[in-house]
């Protein structure tokens, strides 16, 4: 080969640098990898060998509350079981993906899982949830807010254990509402808050990003207008009737357009999620924000960390979600987490016993106070500690009673992603045509005639 010397110059230089330094580290790396594999196998043996006593709880990421509750229940069980937690991905859609793929492969390591309510029908329909024993079902639905029970029910049967129930409220700056002359002791409409924010040059925060949060917002709007995303036959993808092109669907689209096109929406409305809209509310332009209760502990945390002035959260107040029409009560979003027991778990009885412990009132109160996640048990809202930490707890409870769940269907993912595709970016929606387009798209997707 001609001119081999010229060609090899860079190559030999590159390879001669490596061996001495890399050889050793590669060996130690291989050693470490082997150790890890062995440790993993041993751990797996341990949990299998330990029999029924070790339970794994797949949790959504939080501020450490679920891990603490797990260790409390482990202690309370008196050695009958131990609960270990395994953390799922950050967003609800990825949590669903991971759990479903594991369950489709009959993963026996899933004893308990924290489930986002709209995905529960899909899990139940696929047979991924162990049946709830009757006596357990009776106990865990006693004195629980209606929306949380509804969210855990599929085909008239309780399929999951209500844990905590989230809802969105209308956060507002007292100073802004006062300056705009808005009486917040009375229910307010979207038109009113947009007008008030515009008059003061402040922001109205909502979730306009193409994500699950957009479906949450749209669902609250259409439910508040008196309609529903699914009108009929939620179980059957071929006969499903969608309610997006109804007058109520049009009204919801009008409100979405009103907010997105207003000056109060801010520059990044089409990429705004729960976190970034809370950031906007914390800024000096903050006016109104429809968001979950975490907004308040988040601000208190920032004050503690010294990154926010104490006067900011003092200006915060919460009211029930804005109305679409003046005379119709609002239907705020319902969310939260319910507990499912894996159908392939080796010890479903123990898992249900653990689930009952996890949802005990004192654990729910602890979770509410420390992590800002509202309880599904009504009695928790009278807890003095809760009222002290969350002066707006009564508003949250009222909101939970009014809250409407997102459509319950085993095909929820297709419906939600279809809505996100049709209604994003919110500033481009057209009350006259978007609903019809979304209807057509989702129907075609459910019939497997379209890509998503």
């Amino acid at each position: 080969m001609p001119y081999a010397a010229d060609m090899e110059e860079p190559q030999t230089r590159a390879t001669t640098v490596r061996p001495a330094a890399w050889g050793r580290s590669r060996r130690s790396l291989a050693g470490a990898a082997a150790l890890l594999v062995t440790a993993g196998t041993l751990a797996a043996c341990g949990s299998d060998g330990g029999g029924a006593s070790s339970l794994t709880w797949y949790i959504n990421p939080d501020a450490g509350g679920q891990a603490e509750i797990a260790s409390r229940c482990t202690e309370a069980s008196g050695g009958r079981y131990t609960i270990e937690t395994a953390v799922l991905p950050r967003d609800a859609a990825s949590q669903r993906e991971q759990l479903i793929r594991r369950l489709a492969a009959n993963d026996a390591s899933i004893d308990l899982m924290s489930l986002d309510p709209p995905f529960i029908p899909e899990f139940a329909e696929a047979g991924f949830l162990a049946p709830v024993p009757e006596d357990v079902a009776e106990r865990v639905t006693e004195d629980v807010v209606e929306s949380a029970i509804e969210g855990s029910t599929w085909r008239d049967e309780l399929v999951a254990v209500p844990f905590w129930a989230n809802t969105q409220v209308l956060w507002y700056r007292t100073s802004v509402a006062e300056a705009a002359g808005l009486d917040m002791s009375q229910p307010v409409t979207w038109e009113q808050i947009v007008e008030a924010a515009e008059s003061q040059g402040k922001l109205v925060g909502a979730q306009g990003a193409r994500a699950e949060s957009l479906t949450v917002w749209f669902n609250a709007l259409i439910e508040s207008a008196g309609g529903s995303i699914i009108a009929e036959n939620a179980e059957d993808p071929e006969d499903i009737q969608l309610g997006l092109d109804t007058p109520e669907g049009q009204r919801a689209t009008e409100i979405m357009q009103l907010v997105a096109e207003s000056e109060a929406a801010g520059a990044a409305f089409s990429t705004s999620n729960e976190d970034s809209s809370a950031t906007g509310f914390e800024s000096e332009n903050g006016g109104f924000n429809v968001n979950y209760p975490f907004v308040y502990p988040r601000a208190l945390g920032a004050v503690e960390a010294g990154t926010m002035d104490a006067s900011v959260p003092e200006d915060y107040a919460a009211a029930v979600y804005p109305r679409v029409d003046e005379d119709t009560e609002a239907a705020p979003p319902y969310g939260g987490i319910n507990l499912g027991v894996g159908a392939f778990s080796e010890s479903p009885e123990l898992a249900y016993e653990a689930a009952e412990c996890i949802v005990e009132d004192e654990n729910q109160a602890y979770y509410f106070v420390t992590n800002g996640n509202p309880a599904s048990a009504t009695s928790v809202y009278d807890d003095e500690e809760v009222l002290e930490a969350f002066p707006m707890a009564p508003v949250i409870r009222e909101s939970l009673e009014l809250a409407a769940p997102r459509p319950q269907s085993p095909y929820y993912n297709e419906i939600s992603v279809g809505i996100q595709r049709s209604y994003h970016p919110p500033s481009t929606v057209d009350p006259g045509s978007t609903g019809e387009q979304a209807n057509e798209l989702i129907t075609a997707v459910l019939a497997k005639e379209d890509l998503l």
Partner: protein, 319 residues
Amino acid sequence: MTTTTLPPGKKTEPVSAPKGGISDRARSERKLGWLLAGPAFLVMLLVTAYPILQATYESLFDFRLTDPDNRAFVGLGNYGVILSDPLWWQSIGVTAFITVVTVAVELVLGFGLALVMVKALRALRPVLRAAILIPYAVITVVSAFAWQFAFDINSGFVNSWFTWLPGVAADTDWFGDKWTSLLVICLAEIWKTTPFISLLLLAGLAQVPEVLQEAAKVDGATRWQRMWKVTIPNMKAAIMVALLFRTLDAFRVFDTIFIMTNGANGTESVSFLAYRQTIARLEIGLGSAVSVLLFLAVVLIAFTFIKLFKVDLAQARGE
């Protein structure tokens, strides 16, 4: 001035080489070759051919992961659904756009970096190479997050540092529009994979015989003429291989889009579409069909490069 390359390699073969037939030595070498490469070949079959075949098989079914009982054979129905959907053609367009833009920019930048590495002082070379390689060592998801944070309207610095540029304002929402999103996606991809192309080109640059450069110099060729008439023609094989590898890579773009826009504003690539059908929608049949079509597109690109541009992979290895 004509281009200057070396005479074809076959002229340098010894005249005494036997014609036709395979010698015993060649035969035993071939056997040794199979013995050495055989196990790797088997592993390759197992980890690449098997999934491809399985995906092709699954793509002929209507099969939802959560509903295995209702699995039904639909023949080429899934392909019909995909090819008649405007979303497929839109994502082909987006993927082609990202591929063409990133590969073209990377080729120019990578060539510049390769020249810098070749010409740098001997003492500086290792440091320089390490510095240029760093982006390539960064995991794509991490690089995507870093670029997303940089351009984010709330936490990013781009909006406050570059307001002097036309079109950039303090409230520019980069991820709120198709073309600005694609711009940031392309920037992140270019930053990350230019080192790869420059390394391949560096190997090609080192292949250009110094004697030809000297001869051109003696003939009075300018620096620019030497670049166009000597350097580039002599490293054509290396350039084509770099282009081929990067094009195949760029056509499968996924991570950056997944992190930055999650497919919003019509920024879905073909890989992203496959992800959404298979993983999010759990339609294994439809998703497999998208993957098979993506695979065919990649094969087509490789075939076009090798046949049309006559890329000789063996030549790039210096054989």
